[in-house]
Amino acid sequence: MTAPLFRNAALLLACVVASSASAHAQNVDFYPIISTETQLQFQYDHIRSSDGTTLKRLNFNGAHQTIVDFNPFLSFNSLITMEQVRDPMPGTSTSIFSGEGAYAEEAYMRWSDQVTGVKLGKFTQNFGRAWYMTPGIYGADFVSDYQLSEKWGAELSYAFGLYKFGRHQVSISDFMADRTFLSESLFTNRGHLSLNDGGPTNTVAPNSYVATYDATNVVLPWGTLSYQLSAATLGRGEGDTGTEQRLGAGFNLNLPIRNGVAETLRGGFTKINLMGEAVRRWNADGIAGRNIDYLTGSAELVYGPWFFDLSATDRNTALAGDTTKDRLWQAAIGYNFLADTSLSFGVARKDEGGAMSTIFGTQLTYTLTSCDRCQILAKKH
């Protein structure tokens, strides 16, 4: 199957690479500019299930982002992620750094003049936001189901209404699952994805599509609103009995409570972030008739370096007349030290497939900006 969007995006990217090489001559000598940032995170979870079992788990999560700007428009972006890629065996009571693997989550070229944008490579698709915006240690546990990560593809985006009434953008993307060597992982190998593994987007050609409308920074009398509407159709993988289709709608509202300059400088800045998102998946996971609805809501209070998070997600799965209702709620409290280190404590209650579990956990995150717009070559005129 041909994939015109993919092909056209590649051509467009090639054109803009060529044209932007000669643009902005005054700034050319400053490039390439390299930025790297590393996030190190330790997370301890104490999970008590209703069947009496307990799991104590200490994990390390890492993320290393590299961005190489070749000129003001063109950049290469990569994200190496390390996390637990293999779950502990059933019955395990203690898991310390087990099943950890590192893999390339993103590797793509991006061209953008802030109005039109093109992405080409392996990247996370722009569908839904709750999987990265839901606050708290466990807030995104259910909604990460619908994160479309590790897809090879092309995305075109166009922004309009740039500022007066917020920034509005439409984007379309054509993609497929990563079956290259990048689907494997180091340390603990999660295995090489193959066509035989099946599943939506795991297709020969890029025949999965997402279309998304994003609005950000829409100023309202009481705060600032962002929202997203998104639709997707995911190509059938081997053995799939249905084509998964999705619709999603979400918003977040920024409500400043105390935002005077002096208050902010003294550490008293206060705001509330409200977020909500609803997603419907038809033929979820390529299973005909299996429909899943997600409804997520969260509230975060930010007070200077402190943050307090509450979130809840309902996940209802319907298949052949049966409905399974899963519930998740969680709360967390945390503190940011010197803007690069945060420590948070959380509690979550999960009702998943009729099994209840309670999780207590703590998370320590350190972010190191090891290279902030480093310029490798000397600048000469």
């Binding site: 054109c15 090489a21 920024n254 600048k379 005129h381």
Partner: protein
């Protein structure tokens, strides 16, 4: 293996397509020659642009060429290099992670506050050469590598009077960087050899800035600094800034009081002295006054001194307190307040200047502190630091009476408004790109055009999770509202901190003919400016436009949509 081959093939085809497209659309040269040609034509392109600018404006615009013999290209020294950290005595792992040794103590306050090197105008002319040197200087117990003008890390003070002719020859002695000068806060011409941001001075080259300060210019404290887009933060952080003072025609402000200039800068240095760009955390950030760590400021009991702060740090917002004392703020950004404001702390935004009167208390020692500050969830936290020690001793003096401005600034509350505009500061999700009205800076695009004579009201909106500092060249403004709350007339500013998720409403006059030309407005947290939070403005004279048949400057250079 198959996957690796597929990836290689994909990359090769992309590279091939790129090269092929460049060849097809670009020129008749083979792909390998494209970049070489672009590089060779760069200087010619700039020359052509500047010649066109000169033709249109009639002003002399220099292109400063470097000597033919250029030293070999070197890697930049400011790459953040983790390997340069050694286990020096005062640089433990704990220090590196938590910065525990940063704040000086009273025992570090050994030297009296010095005054930076000063150049004064004579017979109506200030004629000075500023030579940039990369140097190693001693700051407290630290030896750091800095870049400075004439070897003065705090920056030489240029002292002039209204009506003076300013001739500053800038000699770029940097190893590997272009640079330029911006005369911050001055309402002088942005054209030709004036406060012209189109000028860049190559490594090894020199450029003479020459402009006249209008005879009606407000006396006060200003400053000058590198404004080289993309590396302004680096260069200012390295030390490339200095103070410029316009004294009143008859002498100086508060002639009866002792004046203390206080140039605020900061640095971070590895144990080997390499200054490194401020990383996100500022863990080892050290703040200086006049290039000194924890200087002693001598006062007599009851004595009133005039302290003239200039925030010349690249990114910091200061919050200064002096235990047991209050500050009497008398001027901001070079403009006297209608009447003094008494406060416990002074907030000095990036690029801000504040003149305060300080009445010394009882004999004793008092620590001058830059308090802990937060600039927002997406911003920074700066730890508190002792920055000076005030030592009060000797015979009793009498404090100066309360200050009232003899000629308060005009109140723009009731003037006609010709145009209202909105300026929105935003960032992308990972705070890598910064925008003004949805766009990053493009030197070739005019973002705002203003006819000479306009009085305008601008709303500056901060739609981000960190503070920004709005600054406009060549013009001062009155703050009318902050977050919808009306503000009293406290004089004119050229920079203002914009609250997170909030707004500042300002009014300004574009009626001084000397400012006709192209200049900039931007966030003066230089990290943000370098990342694109800057825009071009052109003030044009409608009468001059009507009288000429030549195409106006804005049409020659305008790429984007003028608003």
């Amino acid at each position: 293996m198959k996957s690796v081959t597929s990836l290689k093939l994909a990359l090769l085809s992309l590279a091939g397509m790129t090269a092929m497209t460049a060849w097809t659309f670009g020129a008749q040269n083979p792909p390998s020659a494209i970049s070489e040609q672009a590089r060779q034509s760069k200087d010619d392109l700039i020359k052509t642009e500047l010649a066109e600018l000169q033709r249109l404006t009639g002003a002399k615009v220099d292109f400063c060429e470097a000597p033919e013999t250029k030293p070999p290209v070197r890697h930049r020294r400011k790459i953040y290099d983790l390997t340069t950290r050694s286990s020096a005595q005062d640089d433990t792992i704990i220090d590196r992670l938590f910065g525990t040794n940063a704040s000086p103590s009273i025992s570090d306050a050994r030297l009296p506050l010095g005054t930076p090197l000063e150049y004064r105008s004579a017979r109506g002319v200030l004629d000075v050469t500023l030579t940039i040197k990369e140097d190693r200087v001693q700051v407290g117990k630290y030896q750091i590598n800095v870049a400075s003008y004439n070897g003065e890390y705090a920056g030489p003070v240029l002292r002039v009077k209204p009506g003076d002719l300013v001739r500053v020859k800038l000699v770029n002695g940097l190893d590997d960087e272009v640079t330029n000068l911006h005369f911050h806060g001055l309402e002088v011409t942005p054209k030709g050899s004036g406060d012209n941001m189109m000028i860049s001075v190559s490594q090894g080259a020199a450029h003479q800035y020459e402009f006249r300060i209008p005879a009606t210019h407000r006396p006060g404290v200003y400053w000058y600094h590198s404004h080289m887009h993309l590396i302004a933060e680096d260069q200012v952080f390295d030390g490339l800034s200095g103070t410029l003072i316009i004294d009143p025609p008859g002498g100086r402000d508060f002639p009866q009081l002792r004046e203390q200039l206080m140039v605020l800068k900061n640095f971070q240095a590895s144990p080997s002295g390499e200054s490194y760009k401020p990383d996100k955390t500022y863990r080892r950030d050290l703040r200086t006054i006049n290039g000194q760590l924890m200087p002693r400021i001598e006062m007599r009991p009851g004595e009133t001194q005039l302290w003239r702060f200039t925030n010349q740090a690249a990114n910091l917002i200061y919050r200064i307190t002096l235990k047991g004392h209050k500050f009497r703020v008398v001027a901001r950004d070079g403009t006297p307040l209608p009447a003094e404001i008494v406060t416990d702390e002074i907030i000095i935004g990036s690029a801000g200047r504040v003149d305060v009167l300080v009445d010394a208390g009882d004999p004793g020692e008092y620590i001058l502190v830059d308090e802990r500050t937060f600039t927002g969830p997406q911003g920074n936290e700066f730890r508190a630091q002792n920055i000076g020690l005030v030592v009060v001793s000797g015979p009793q003096s009498r404090p100066a009476p309360p200050f009232v401005a003899s000629r308060p600034s005009e109140d723009l509350a009731n003037v006609r408004i010709d145009k209202q505009r909105l300026v929105v500061f935003t960032e992308d999700d990972d705070a890598r790109h910064y925008f003004v009205n949805g766009r990053s800076f493009d030197h070739a695009r005019i973002d705002t055009r203003v006819p000479l004579g306009n009085i305008e009201e601008w709303t500056i909106r901060n739609s981000s999770d960190e503070l920004h500092v709005f600054h406009i060249h060549q013009v001062t403004f009155q703050v009318m509202e902050v977050n919808g709350v009306k503000q009293p007339n406290e004089g004119r500013l050229d920079s203002v901190i914009v609250p997170m998720w909030g707004e500042v409403k300002i009014r300004m006059r574009f009626d001084n003919p000397v400012i006709v030309g192209q200049f900039m407005y931007h966030c003066h947290i230089l990290e943000h400016e370098d990342r694109g939070m800057m825009a071009n403005i052109e003030v044009y004279d409608p009468k001059a436009l009507a009288a000429t048949t030549s195409p106006p400057l804005h049409k020659a250079s305008m790429k984007g949509q003028a608003r």
